[in-house]
Point group: C2
Chain length 143, copies 2
C-alpha cells in the first residue's frame, strides 16, 4: 500500500462503502479525514489508516452490528493505535464478545480457548481479523 491519500470516491470504492456513509461518518466523527479544504467540504482526502478505518466500519456493519457498536469498535482500535498494521508481530486478530457484567460488547485480543468458553456460556463472539481486512484492501488497491 503506497503512502498516498485517496479521494472520497476512491475510498468508497476500495472499502465497499457508499459516499453517503462516508459523509455521515464524517459528520458523526467516526472516520474524519485529516485533509479537508475549508469552506466547500468537497476536497476530502483519506489517508491509508483512515481507509482502513472505513474498511473496519464496513466489516462491522456487514456482519449485522449496529452503528454504535461499529463506531465504538473503530474508535477503540484507533485509540489503541491498532488500526494500521505496521508490525507483523503486533496483534492483528481481535474479537468482540458480550460482557454481561458491563452490559456491552468488549474488544479483546483473539483467544481461541476464551472464544470457545464464551460460546459455551451463550455469549456472542465476533472475530475482528484486521490482517484479513487489510489484505483485502491491499488486493483492491493493486487490482
Amino acid at each position: 500500500m503506497q503512502d498516498t491519500f485517496f479521494t472520497s470516491k476512491q475510498a468508497a470504492e476500495m472499502t465497499g462503502c457508499t459516499l453517503r456513509q462516508l459523509q455521515y461518518w464524517r459528520e458523526k466523527g467516526v472516520v474524519v479525514p485529516t485533509i479537508r479544504s475549508t469552506g466547500t467540504g468537497r476536497s476530502v482526502y483519506y489517508s491509508r489508516s483512515e481507509v482502513m478505518e472505513l474498511a473496519v466500519m464496513e466489516y462491522c456493519l456487514g456482519v449485522g452490528l449496529n452503528f454504535e457498536v461499529a463506531a465504538a469498535t473503530v474508535k477503540q482500535l484507533k485509540d489503541e493505535g491498532l488500526i494500521l498494521i505496521r508490525d507483523e508481530k503486533a496483534p492483528q486478530r481481535f474479537m468482540l464478545w458480550w460482557d454481561g457484567k458491563k452490559g456491552k460488547l468488549e474488544l479483546v485480543e483473539f483467544d481461541s480457548k476464551k472464544a470457545i468458553a464464551y460460546l459455551d456460556e451463550g455469549k456472542p463472539v465476533i472475530p475482528m481479523c484486521l490482517d484479513v481486512i487489510y489484505q483485502q484492501l491491499v488486493n483492491k488497491i493493486q487490482s
Copy 2:
C-alpha cells in the same frame, strides 16, 4: 408461565423493551399482538409467544445487532415454529453465523464444532439460547 395475555406495559417491563420499541415493532410488523381493539390502538395484548418474540428482539439488539438482523432472526424463529419452548426435546440453542457465500447472517442449530470452525475462519458466531431467554422471562413473571 400462565396461558394469559399481557398489556404493552407488562410486556415492556418483562422484556426490558420500551413502549416506543413495542409500538415501532408493531408498525414494522416485527412483533404484532394478536389481540388489538380496532380504532383506538390502545388496547394491545401480547400472548406468551409474542412476549417471547419481544425478548428475542431485545436480546438481539442488546448484543449489538442491527434492527434488520434482529427482526429477520425473530421472523425465522417464528416461521419455523421455534419461538415457544413447549417440548424439552426440541432444539433450543441456535446460533447466527456469517455466511460469506450468501453475504448474510444465517440462523442454524447450535453446533459447538461448527461454531469453533467458523471462528477459526474469522466468522462471527452469535449463540441464541432460547431456553435461557425463556427462563429469564419466566423468572421475571414469577418475581
